[in-house]
Symmetry: C2
Subunit: 474 residues, 2 copies
Amino acid sequence: MYAVILAGGSGTRFWPKSREQLPKQLLKITDHGTMIQNTLDRMTPVIPPENTWVITNEKHALETCRQLEPMGFCPSRLIAEPIGRNTAAAIGYSARVLSESDPSAIMAVFPADHAITTPEDFCELLLSAKTVAESNRLVTLGIEPLAPETGYGYIKKGQALKNDAFKVDQFVEKPDPSTAEKYLKEGGYYWNSGMFMWKVSTLLDEIKTHMPNLHAQLDALATNTVEAKGRYPYRMLDESGKKVFASLESISIDYGLMEKSNNTAVLPANIGWNDVGAWTALEDVSEKDPRGNVVTGSVITIDSSESIIQGDSKLVAALGLNNMIVVDTPDALLVCPKDRAQDVKKVVEQIKLEKRPEAISSITETRPWGNYTVLQKEANYLVKRIEVHPGESLSLQSHEHRSEHWTIISGTAQVQIDGTSHSLTRNQSIEIPQRAKHRLTNSGKSPLIIIEVQLGDRLDENDITRYEDKYGRA
Amino acid sequence: MYAVILAGGSGTRFWPKSREQLPKQLLKITDHGTMIQNTLDRMTPVIPPENTWVITNEKHALETCRQLEPMGFCPSRLIAEPIGRNTAAAIGYSARVLSESDPSAIMAVFPADHAITTPEDFCELLLSAKTVAESNRLVTLGIEPLAPETGYGYIKKGQALKNDAFKVDQFVEKPDPSTAEKYLKEGGYYWNSGMFMWKVSTLLDEIKTHMPNLHAQLDALATNTVEAKGRYPYRMLDESGKKVFASLESISIDYGLMEKSNNTAVLPANIGWNDVGAWTALEDVSEKDPRGNVVTGSVITIDSSESIIQGDSKLVAALGLNNMIVVDTPDALLVCPKDRAQDVKKVVEQIKLEKRPEAISSITETRPWGNYTVLQKEANYLVKRIEVHPGESLSLQSHEHRSEHWTIISGTAQVQIDGTSHSLTRNQSIEIPQRAKHRLTNSGKSPLIIIEVQLGDRLDENDITRYEDKYGRA
């Protein structure tokens, strides 16, 4: 059995913790691990990490590998999409890739950013789903509804099949409140969780029948690939492959295939599932204090109840709050009532409209070689913490407008300046003069951390001339 | 005419902007200048800065001088109290000091942290008050009440005197709502503003009559003084003076003297006065946006109204807020409904109970030689921005547990390390080895700014051995 994790989230509703460059699945939203780590972890008893594929946007490929590799995930099983084209394209493409190595594979599909509070039940269910999938069904996990939720699509069950599954009678759009109420009362309706199980061969056949245009492109997607340069050899499309991918219709697997196929089954699931769609979902998946608050970080609450207060390193004092959301991050803060949780996307839209960086990136920026955090930025100087992963190198570069002073905090740095090489360890420092050709390499086995002080009349990321780069950026 | 500014505020209700080390009067609460700067500024047409005395706690003396000296205030006219002993002690002591140089002086008393929106009317009023004071009255400025405010003491006017003043019939405690309503309806009642005018000789005579114990100590307070070392030669008590001051009764001038004297007058004042007692006062003294919000800093408001949102460098997104207070600072954030503004002191109490630093100090710490800001603190390193005022020096010191790396951002540094002197300017850096005896001096005429990276197994302010210090801290 194989898993494909769909990790294409855009991360607007968990702003300011999530950003375009760091969507929800890459964040620790609940107590343990990031959401995608939890997704990988919970299926491990049934599907080992080495049988797992991940499909994600290229800009999240490195961070995804960084998070999953220590858990046994193989970076060459990450498929990078050049742009988002919804779930039908992502699922079709990964199925085609998976069929290369194992045409008879059973393939399970999971969104990367959902929570499941009873993973044992979930694993048991996967084994049942596998049995149903083996009879050439497209199986979808249907969540037993607990409330008249209007935010989900519904699945109406039909005739009973073997192994507790049912034929799908109908996929139903997101209902209005009274319809949702009716579904709950009547029974036989399930929330569409976006989790599926099928034989790769069944799926590809069904795609051929119902989405022939997509099917026609799958061979091109499978062959026009290259391995990423750098630390993680994940799978990318080459230039022609990217063109093909861009030409695909942007449509969900539900609309594109499931609603049309006559071959679908639903397996009722009671697994403590939550799609973690907005800040208010924390109330379902986190521990609460005695007054019903979900609190993390350094927080003082006085006379506050039923609120979601997510602090960071700074002290947050919540006085007299009820049903409020407070989310603090180093560069952005959100305050809103809980009933406005869905409108956080409006905040993100507004920030984008104002062309502010806080919608896209946070103060810690990920790079192929590691990451950096701006500690202070003023007109004529800038202080950064730089972390370089073991074995990685920044490009050979120079700056027209600034000099740099580096102090090594931990690890071993190989610093090349105008052709001369210097080896530095903790408590040593060095100056990179303006216009000097230089390169920083972590030549040790532990992370290299340096504090950089930049001085100059122009301090921006664009003042960089690259001469060589192992990640193809020169 | 002389002014005495009472600057003894403790700064709990404007947390997190105000801290024990940086009370309200030293903060920019409204648009222009800090509150004490505004207090000095608005009286300038009538009382020149060189005729102004300031009495404040010793721990705020340096910052007060730093703020007021550029406006013409003479630092030797700052009187530092070793501890707070309420207004009777502060006023009696300053009157005694003032009488040394001018026994016939007219003395006006102003709290350092109030707002006045029509300073022209205020200046005119000071001239009237002077005339009344010349007839040996203790004059108090009584604010025409605009609302049935229960937070102030009231003054009931009696028989009319010359120059629009009235004899005081009675000082009245803070009333309950219905009494306050009655006062407003009846008229003839004024808010006790804490602003006074009198001849120094009248005041000292009255203190002799009504507070003989205080009067008996004033000579000792006047003689047991020393000049502060360092940049500002403000006036401090010596060890015996401090003992005397500590022995004084802690009582307000209202209870101790005004309520007992038969010689008091009230001058009705219509000067746009506000005591700026809590965050909600910003609504009276600041400009509002079209939806009634008082907003500063980098703030996005969506569907928000009647709220007070004080951002700092970070982006604050306020979504769907109504009648809320949000105050963000680099190390602490407050969120509460407006009707809880008075309870911010409960937050400060709670923080003190938890022995957290955020009640006392902010991330920028003031020192006799300048200030420093912690940019990042981790277990084994710490990054600081250090600013040294021109001509100032840190103590000659060493550290047992850490080395330090300095990069000069601006200004000229004289760095002494184990007896050797180094002169450094912008873009130069130097290492201070562990245990080396070192000293940093700003030998230039502009501020010296350096970035310091500390590395060590213990990084706290107590790991410092001082050998020499121009501020008497060695």
